[in-house]
């Protein structure tokens, strides 16, 4: 990991209240440094999704300050949102691939969106497909792929634009344990190459095995933040505190 000097994500006293009145995050603060691999865990409705939406600028904070990739996005103008998102890669539990396009075109799509010159697209896409081990299947359509392979395509699409920050929202939610481990190993490889990785997950086994930083969110608040932590530790701490309350 790089020296802890450059923050890639910094949330200071951030609160998010939805129009319905529900408070998704309350005075939430966190710093994530370049090159880190961070798990974000917590029960459903704890505020994990809102945390991701904040980073992607899908929601605005009601108060506090949000800095991502060195840019204060607290009051980011609509016209600048696209530029902001181009520096973040995202993968989801349901892969979100375009069903009418093959593997190559799904990954190339990310390059077309940022208007990458045509001659460079082929080279860049082949490179990331090799990284995720899908070079042989570049002409296959999503329905011809297993869940794990689809998630690899989604990962390739997320990193093809050489983003400094990768967010994975329940990336193993639809996968069996063996495939889940393969995806996590891929994420670790990507992280080793310098990309900061934030993984939101419920997968206890994976969190425990990876021994990375674990941030636990509970009821919209930072509950625990443990270096090389375990899901069980976080959960145990959460339950202990809950019992004490």
């Amino acid at each position: 990991m790089e020296e802890k000097s450059a923050k890639i994500v910094s949330l200071s006293n951030v609160s998010v209240t939805y129009p319905t009145g529900s408070k998704a995050l309350k005075n939430f603060s966190i710093d994530i440094y370049k090159g880190e691999f961070v798990f974000v865990v917590g029960a459903s409705g704890s505020g994990k999704s809102t945390f991701i939406k904040l980073l992607l600028r899908e929601v605005e904070p009601s108060s506090g300050k949000v800095v991502v990739n060195g840019k204060n996005i607290t009051n980011l103008k609509h016209k600048d949102v696209a530029t902001h998102r181009r520096r973040i890669g995202v993968v989801f539990q349901d892969f979100r691939l375009l069903k009418d396009r093959n593997v190559f075109e799904n990954v190339a799509f990310a390059q077309r969106v940022i208007s990458m010159p045509h001659r460079l697209i082929g080279r860049n896409v082949s490179k990331v497909l090799a990284l995720v081990g899908l070079e042989e299947k570049k002409k296959a359509f999503p329905k011809e792929l297993s869940g794990g392979e689809q998630q690899r395509v989604a990962l390739a699409r997320a990193i093809v634009n050489q983003v400094p920050l990768l967010i994975a929202d329940e990336p193993t939610g639809n996968l069996d344990p063996k495939t889940s481990m393969e995806i996590m190993q891929l994420l670790e490889n990507i992280n080793r190459q310098g990309t900061t990785v934030i993984v939101v997950t419920h997968d206890r086994e994976i969190v425990d095995m990876m021994q990375k930083r674990v941030v636990t969110i509970k009821d919209g608040e930072m509950f625990s933040d443990v270096e090389q932590g375990q899901y069980t530790e976080s959960l145990a701490a959460s339950e202990t505190r809950f019992n004490m309350e």
């Binding site: 992607l56 696209a82 979100r96 375009l98 799509f109 990310a110 969106v113 940022i114 010159p117 634009n161």
Partner: protein
């Protein structure tokens, strides 16, 4: 550079969208075609009637007769006064002899023996007159009233009924056309919007991914705007082509069916009609496509 890539991407995707939603595309094109064909038809009709009215106006004159015994000097004063009137285009003197000659040509053309019964008498003696041509037919009434008040004027005759009928007919056609065109334009815009909405719903997932990856508004909206403009353009070119093929044929048919009319009236040439119809149809078609698609993407893409 990014703009150029996005531009070509938008064109390609816009055409793909059109193919994907074939039925909606065809329906929208048909509506715009019908609308602009009707526009072209109405315009041709109205402009030709206006042209005919103008040419008839040029030949319709007010005849001014003098009181018995009016001196030539007084007649000259009347002519001077008429020529000073800004509503009057031309004043022409018709002597009693000329009037009798004209009358003979018009009335006794087929019965020359009747003319002989008049021998050397001119039954129209004292019927010399001025033919007064007005600049605008709608001013004819006021000119007639002015002349009637003049000293030495016995009678003023104006043959305005035919022109009046044509002007009224022209006005009615104009109003009906405008109402029809407005209705069809509204329907066309609505149909284009529906086509775009279907396109958006089919591509919702793609748009979601685009946004997530960092596509600009221009990149997301571009294909839909191209879709709208293409529909409008095709919808404009078809009626232009149909009018181009049919215009001269219809005029030839009218001439052959109503040969007597051709001595009286003439029609506008295809070229002068199309100087207006082509840019107007293309402008309207593209305009409807552009406005319809822009309004829809702004509303449904939340940008």
């Amino acid at each position: 550079m990014e703009g150029i890539h996005t531009f070509f991407y938008s064109i390609k995707q816009g055409i793909i969208n059109l193919k994907r939603n074939k039925m909606f595309t065809i329906t929208s094109i048909c509506t715009i075609t019908a609308c602009l064909f009707l526009f072209g038809l109405c315009y041709s009709l109205v402009s030709n009637i206006q042209y005919i009215v103008k040419s008839i106006e040029g030949n319709v004159a007010i005849t001014v007769f003098f009181d018995e015994g009016t001196k030539d000097s007084q007649k000259a004063e009347i002519a001077l006064e008429l020529k000073e009137n800004k509503k009057i285009k031309k004043v022409e003197y018709i002597s009693a002899e000329q009037a009798w000659e004209n009358f003979k040509e018009d009335i006794f053309e087929t019965q020359p023996e009747l003319v002989d019964t008049f021998e050397e008498d001119n039954p129209l003696a004292d019927s010399d007159s001025y033919l007064v041509y007005v600049k605008d037919m709608s001013e004819q009434n006021s000119v007639v009233k002015t002349i009637e008040k003049m000293d030495g004027v016995r009678k003023v005759k104006s043959s305005k009924e035919a022109v009046k009928t044509l002007v009224t007919f022209n006005r009615v056609i104009g109003i009906v056309s405008v109402v029809l065109i407005i209705i069809l334009l509204t329907v066309s815009t609505f149909l284009i919007q529906n086509t775009i909405i279907v396109g958006i719903s089919v591509r919702r997932e793609e748009i979601r991914i685009m946004r997530m990856i960092g596509a600009t508004d221009f990149f997301v909206q571009g294909p839909f705007v191209v879709e709208g403009i293409t529909i409008g353009l095709i919808g404009a070119l078809i009626p232009i082509l149909v009018l181009l093929i049919t215009y001269n044929r219809v005029l030839n048919w009218i001439s052959s069916q109503f040969g007597v009319l051709t001595n009286w009236i003439s029609f506008l040439s295809l070229q002068s009609e199309f100087m207006v119809i082509v840019p107007a149809c293309i402008g309207l078609g593209v305009g409807i496509g552009l406005v319809g698609s822009l309004v829809t993407v702004k509303k449904h893409l939340n940008v």
